[in-house]
Subunit: 453 residues, 3 copies
Amino acid sequence: IHSHTKIHTLPLLCIFGTGDLGRSLGQRLLQTGYRVVYGSRRPQSCGPLPPGAQVRTGSPPFSSYLYEFKQRNYVFMHMNVSEQVFVDLSNNQKKDMYPDTNAEYLQRLVPGALVVKGLNTLSAWVLLNGPLAGKQVFLCGDSAEAKQAVRELATRLGLSVLDRGSLSAAREVEDFPLQLFPEWRLPLCIATGLTAFFFFYLLIRDIIYAYVEQDKDISFRIMVSLANKVFPIVSLIMLSLCYLPGVMAAILQLYRGTKYSRFPDWLDRWMLCRKQLGLLALALAFLHVLYTFIIPIRYAVRHKLISTVMKDNKSTPFYFDNTEAWATDSFFVLGIMGFFLYFLLGLTSLPSVGGSLSWREFTFVQSKLGHLTLIVCTAHGYIYGWNKFLKPSTYKWWTPPGYMLCLVVPSVVLVLKLLMVLPCVDRSLGRIRQGWERTGPEEGRASLRATTL
Amino acid sequence: IHSHTKIHTLPLLCIFGTGDLGRSLGQRLLQTGYRVVYGSRRPQSCGPLPPGAQVRTGSPPFSSYLYEFKQRNYVFMHMNVSEQVFVDLSNNQKKDMYPDTNAEYLQRLVPGALVVKGLNTLSAWVLLNGPLAGKQVFLCGDSAEAKQAVRELATRLGLSVLDRGSLSAAREVEDFPLQLFPEWRLPLCIATGLTAFFFFYLLIRDIIYAYVEQDKDISFRIMVSLANKVFPIVSLIMLSLCYLPGVMAAILQLYRGTKYSRFPDWLDRWMLCRKQLGLLALALAFLHVLYTFIIPIRYAVRHKLISTVMKDNKSTPFYFDNTEAWATDSFFVLGIMGFFLYFLLGLTSLPSVGGSLSWREFTFVQSKLGHLTLIVCTAHGYIYGWNKFLKPSTYKWWTPPGYMLCLVVPSVVLVLKLLMVLPCVDRSLGRIRQGWERTGPEEGRASLRATTL
Amino acid sequence: IHSHTKIHTLPLLCIFGTGDLGRSLGQRLLQTGYRVVYGSRRPQSCGPLPPGAQVRTGSPPFSSYLYEFKQRNYVFMHMNVSEQVFVDLSNNQKKDMYPDTNAEYLQRLVPGALVVKGLNTLSAWVLLNGPLAGKQVFLCGDSAEAKQAVRELATRLGLSVLDRGSLSAAREVEDFPLQLFPEWRLPLCIATGLTAFFFFYLLIRDIIYAYVEQDKDISFRIMVSLANKVFPIVSLIMLSLCYLPGVMAAILQLYRGTKYSRFPDWLDRWMLCRKQLGLLALALAFLHVLYTFIIPIRYAVRHKLISTVMKDNKSTPFYFDNTEAWATDSFFVLGIMGFFLYFLLGLTSLPSVGGSLSWREFTFVQSKLGHLTLIVCTAHGYIYGWNKFLKPSTYKWWTPPGYMLCLVVPSVVLVLKLLMVLPCVDRSLGRIRQGWERTGPEEGRASLRATTL
């Protein structure tokens, strides 16, 4: 009897809009047990509606403003007819298409309505095919009761609902499906900037230097050799930029003697894009690996090998240099191991893999494994130049080579991190992170200053 | 008080079947707060039941047809005893094992029962270990109330329920866990067909031609060289086949002047398997990459290199060809970049990655990035043959080489796509996709015909 | 009207703890529609609380033991004030930090409380940012009603709840977020042990043998050549160890004539870590692939190539060996195909990919594709040594080379598996797995013994 009554209390929903989204939404709601009615101006012209749904056109309260709504080509839902709850699911084609949001426009057209903006991140495709459970949707609206009604509908669909506040948040909710990788912008800018800088720096040092000083045209090297220097350099710098803000935050906490003061905004923003920085670094490392494997089948490399043989043939025999063999092999092994660790880090940032790790496992991978990766990759860089640091020919036009520049930031990060894990520093940092505060922040800072001087 | 009463209204469930599935189901239901009783013919012989469950054997209503049910070795659940709701969770070992479905068989055995077929996609393993939340299950049945009762149970387990209609859909629901990559069949057939065709085509052109015309046995090339031609060719064609139906659909919409008429069936089916086409293309590209990296350590390649050196030694010196260096390096770089973009596309088709993208991000990746990949890979193909198009030696036995054949479809797709993004075409397509219709379809078509003629 | 009343029955929650976790929890609960009050000793010193939450400090029932709770720096929640339900969400910094669990400590401090331990796997970060839906949380407690109340709260948050029993399971629930890859420990030990064994075995056979018998220092080979032998050897053995327990279980079931007796503990544990064994094998195979691709750009390899050319120059011409070309190319192709299949296996063990497969698809991939991978990789190993088995120079110091040792286990697994799929064996195994039992286990065993003799 109980379940019997429940079926009949599932409200009748009226969907305005018979496009893809409206039809998919109706079908899913029907499958979930709701009764669905479509409101349409021209019931005969709309596509095939889901079986079980009815179409209504001239019902008094809607017909008057039905046309206005359709101007914006959007979809909304009328719930709990007596309470006038309207859900606006619509999205615009692009940002700032209209001065007001669709939800506010709906509110203005039906002043008595309790408008809720939300569920607009669901596409027609997902509504038809995908499992909805596990998807997060946003809601906002001025009426708590209307929001609760919509939340119940969403829960019934298996959705996870997040309340974003009053209807004034509608702009934000409406722009959400239109955003294009907002959290990737800063990391992409950094990567592009670093790549451009090192590209021109190495272009001058390698190609133009050879052209000017030795009158050799080696411009073909831009495609592979030069790119294969730029990618690992930028990758290593970006990897170290992932771990720099963590060290800086720790220093700040030590200096302030508390974890309760907020970090400066730029540090906060930096910390929030560490994942993207790391993934871009991984992408560049991946390109570096592909470029490296392609080396032996390049025309220029084969040409050089053959020329060497033909020249050497006439001169002294080619002796085997044991140190050189050890150094190059160590260089390659560190590179392989670094890439392998990098790859593991990247794997755990897949949502499904990261989500299956316990908190301690995630911390272990991102911190311990991450710093190990940084150490291995930095060592890979140091070995590359092990016997070139002191040669004068390395410093063409008095500039240091690229790999030296790229070792600066990782070395600084590793040295700072090393200081942080010293027992005495680690202990006070641990206490601060557990909520301990240096009493009297002013004296605390003063005493810290005294000790550091 | 409210929650107190609620506990006691959770219905008593009777599970028939004490195998792996029955036991796991019972344990999960007990953990969710239900009371569970097992119905078994031989309570002493069944394995360890979950703690808290009882076993009943001779209760009057069941004992009579208990044995019949067990004939099919399956599991079902008796809910809401007064209302006779039976849930059939069983699956058969293979398709069409019995003439009727298990659900219909159960219905026949207990005529008064309200049979619901469903939840049968849950394996014993998942019920015991995995999180159920986010999983989609299917239901079907003739009684709306019975389905509502089962839907509530499923919701309580965190499942997302999809109603597939009346009990006549039981066959479909029952076959679901038995299906073996149905959406991969067509793409796999296409891939196999193309691979076989190009394999024999190149076998004739390369190996048999050399044997017949030059009397050389180069059959060892089948293993690596030939495969490394077939894989990229098929991969590129399949990638372009991902983007061809989209262009065709756009042309059809332009021609019809509306988005509301359905596409022909073959186009619909084609569009639904684009993801699988793309993933197979990626797999073949991955094989192509592995085959390419292995080239320099092959015996035949090293032999050729050494022979070249020994021959060249006696002849003229080996001059460096700057154009050749640029061309081969560009070829490799386009290949690497193409594979890298391919890989990004593949990443976003992982359910967990794709699911975390906003609608616009997903569209951007699949459309913009996808077409960029196609452009880069097609350019990779064109550069491969840049200086061979006009040589007569390229056309052995008057046949064009494989890479020329494989460039046809991608070039057509890219040209058509280019036409689609022309401002005038793009504008009318955009209007159609927003729901605009050319008034009077017949005149519309006529006028379009007039303009295209 | 119904939804109106419902809002007001959402209980008032009191969160003790205003750290990161407490704040994030409160914010999420507020967004889900609950009213939240914080209990704090020093309301003025705690960080910014979520908007809409209140702070209470001296309310009579709490103030007395508030300080005691805070000793352990943890977070709990007071629900349904009249019923005294307390949820302990806290985690310790490390295992066995205190003799009793936090939940028991809370119970002791508030003897009348209905303590529920749980939800403690949610981090502050996930509560603030991530979708909660689809996440599994654990609960335990002595009061079924209290657990039901917490379960409803968790369901409202979209969580999937698993009841772990009475409060005595609190230790287990509390240790869950602290565990560090427990299921990876055994596979990692096996991988480390095998790697160490084969490293020293090959070190003696290759490096030390050359030093002692031929007085050559080839120690530089440790870095790449030796590692590139050890990795594939260990990888192949571990891959076969994934499939050995399945065969052993089948033999045991055949021998016992039933599937209802439990496997020995070691076999159970082995079967549970097959996924991890396989992923470690894949990781080693990945390293093997990277090491192989790096070969041609190694100094030692280029040196050898150049030396060969210069030596050959003076001696007889270098004839092309067709068999050698076929053998090495087949070797490479089998390696590539094996790695490709390996990779597919690894992909399906990603939670999001595996979760989207039907039961039959998952079985197909893990069993059919898995055994195919094992066959291909074993063939890769056999071809490596195809012309070395009978040469006496292969058996330095009377020891077999590494690749022979590594072929033992895979060959045994494949032969046993071959026996299992023989029609007669397969049929009786199928019957047993469907629940059939040989009547009279004692006679059964006796008769089996008779037939096997």
